[in-house]
Symmetry: C2
């Protein structure tokens, strides 16, 4: 299929980005491959597959990948029945969508990656190439790698974890537009939470409202599923950052944080806020002020030329000055994603990360505090512009109190 | 900490199962380890971690595991901040909850599995053991295995994919009770879909209703998040089984299938139904009759002593007799699960699978038909009892037609 035919075919499906944007992404990826001496790249991360080709489906529970070479168009490889989904969502030529049969699904005898070697890699003469694999991706299991090594014993394997993710760090205008829609959705959802939360409400009923608000969406834009479900631990449970929910009622005089995201066309805008039902104890009010001052200090540093570490250090310093302590990371790069993580898995806002900030990068600045008895999350998604940090949401930056 | 203290401590948290049930599960797992000559098992599958210890949190986007040895109590290993979640949800002694610092999170320099070797495996003298790892689990990446091999060069590694999953195949009374609640939730959700769906409704608004119904739950039992988001492709898109949703309106004279699940305490009851808006074409009505007859034929075979293959073959035979063709698998074992898959990843209903059915097993019998122009899903979750198959739901088994 030539470029015109491919173009014609892809007009029939609704791609989230224009073909020229996909061409640029491919070019950037190939450049990174050349720099590392890679002749072939096996892309297993669903968000990278989506970013490169448009492929979008909940099929990552079986083995699948996109193959990027230096010359020919990318190849989608996955379960045969999901090939139909690739035809419906990716710009690829149908000949470049290759499926394996159901015998290979969750079988202890047959592995899809052996099929990939036999039917795709070897017939195209790539079996002695230098091949990049995303060694530390969720969907590239130890068995997948073993099957590739077995099926292509003469290939040279190189860890390419994050190679594509890094190409995604600076967003295009269309990507920022989608993230702004996601931002409007998460902002709307926090409003809904504040409107409906009350003592005695079962937590799952509140979650039902969160889903309703975030999927119905805003201003005609329907919400997509975020890569993480709502997390909303209360009280002592809020000392644990990643608990989800139960059907127990929310007690009076309690603090609950809400770590949620808006999602539009797989682009995420996470934002957390915290709600106290009743009169908060002084320690929480002090923590609120410390976090807000810390965010201000971090935002001040969030400008092109500075580093991820600058944001984190400014935040931690302000926090310590006010008597609170936190270590670890306080944010990460965001963009398109699939479960189980809405982060981009490249840059982290932490003292060790010297990545230089550039216009078009977007981070979830996530200055959460988790104490043994409570948790407080007031966070911002920030867009790095030439003039500094632009928060994507205008949700009031405070501890919400409802009496 | 001795058994009494551990018991006391775990009274303070709400475990989904009694301590004696966890003891039995551990015993069954150790028996399977002994049969394979394993001295240590590294359990990375979140559903296995949950089943063995009660640990429940959305933390599987970072490396974590449960270590099962033949003598001592299981150890939870994960990100330090998630250790709080382990204390809140697992029955384990707090000394057996071991965390790594945030430096190890999504870092290109430090890997949590190296920390596991240095701080957990080697200090306990397991570094020369025969160690089982879940090679083909989503959350056991190629890099995780490489880090273990590097950190414990004298260990012998054995693939233990599915070892724990197989111990889960026969459900306890309490597990069946949870699955019945999940069944009532999915049945309620299908009712809601039928009530609210209409031509012109945006798909995302329907999804918002699906979430509302399934999370609010039934009869005082709040719904948990299913391991897969709702899938509801319409028309030609329904030829692709794993597309999720858009914000486009549902057209008149169109067919949409709904692949959804109820979930309660992580136990799933998936069930699919299909809705036609308008007067369905004859081919769909014929397909409906073929699928219903195929289900009857399969259910007839779904009794102790028969095999998974017997169900699949009976279904396929009936389908072919009526002029429809399908290959591949037509169902799988179900139980507790986490994203990205609500299957148990052991038995499949397919001709190659000779696993013998036993009372207490539960399957999603999934006789879907995907044509190039449409898809039809009418499926049942079935419980194998001494007397044969018991469908967990009583949702009418038909193509729903709404005019």
């Amino acid at each position: 299929m030539n470029a015109t035919e491919q173009c014609k075919q892809s007009e029939q499906i609704q791609l989230p980005f224009g073909l020229s944007e996909y061409a640029q992404r491919l070019e950037r990826t190939r450049q990174a491959m050349l720099e590392r001496g890679l002749e072939l790249l096996i892309v297993s991360d669903p968000s990278n597959m989506y970013w490169l080709t448009g492929y979008d489906g909940w099929s990552f529970y079986v083995h699948q990948c996109v193959l990027v070479s230096l010359e020919r168009a990318p190849i989608w490889f996955g379960r045969r029945m999901d090939g139909n989904g690739a035809k419906r969502t990716a710009y690829l030529a149908h000949d470049d969508i290759i499926g394996y049969s159901d015998d290979y699904v969750q079988s202890s005898e047959l592995h899809p990656m052996e099929f990939l070697c036999q039917e795709v890699i070897i017939p195209r003469g790539w079996q002695r190439s230098r091949i990049g694999v995303e060694m530390d991706n969720y969907y590239f299991s130890a068995a997948a790698f073993a099957a590739l090594q077995y099926g292509c014993p003469d290939a040279t394997w190189q860890d390419a974890t994050g190679l594509v993710n890094w190409q995604r760090a600076i967003k295009s205008a269309q990507e920022i537009a989608y993230m702004r829609i996601a931002a409007s959705i998460v902002q709307h959802t926090h409003q809904r939470i504040y409107e409906v939360i009350e003592p005695g409400m079962r937590k799952n009923d509140l979650v039902a409202q969160i889903y309703q608000a975030s999927i119905a969406g805003v201003a005609g834009h329907g919400g997509d599923y975020p890569a993480i479900v709502p997390m909303l631990p209360t009280g002592k449970d809020a000392s644990a950052p990643h608990l989800t929910w139960t059907d127990a009622p929310i007690p009076d005089d309690s603090v609950t944080f809400f770590e949620i995201a808006g999602c539009y066309k797989r682009y995420h805008c996470p934002q957390s806020r915290t709600v106290y039902l009743g009169q908060p104890p002084q320690v929480l009010l002090d923590a609120e002020q410390a976090v807000i001052a810390g965010i201000d200090a971090g935002l001040e540093q969030a400008r092109p030329g500075n580093t991820c570490a600058d944001i984190a250090n400014a935040f931690f310093k302000e926090l310590r000055r006010r008597g609170f302590d936190k270590d670890g990371r306080t944010g990460y790069s965001i963009g398109a994603s699939y479960p189980p993580d809405w982060g981009e898995r490249t840059m982290s806002l932490r003292p060790q990360d010297k990545s230089v900030l550039q216009p078009g990068m977007v981070f979830h600045f996530m200055p959460a505090l988790w104490d043994a008895e409570w948790g407080l999350e007031i966070t911002e998604a920030i867009h790095i512009t030439a003039n500094g940090a632009e928060p994507l949401c205008s949700t009031p930056r405070q501890l919400f109190i409802k009496k």
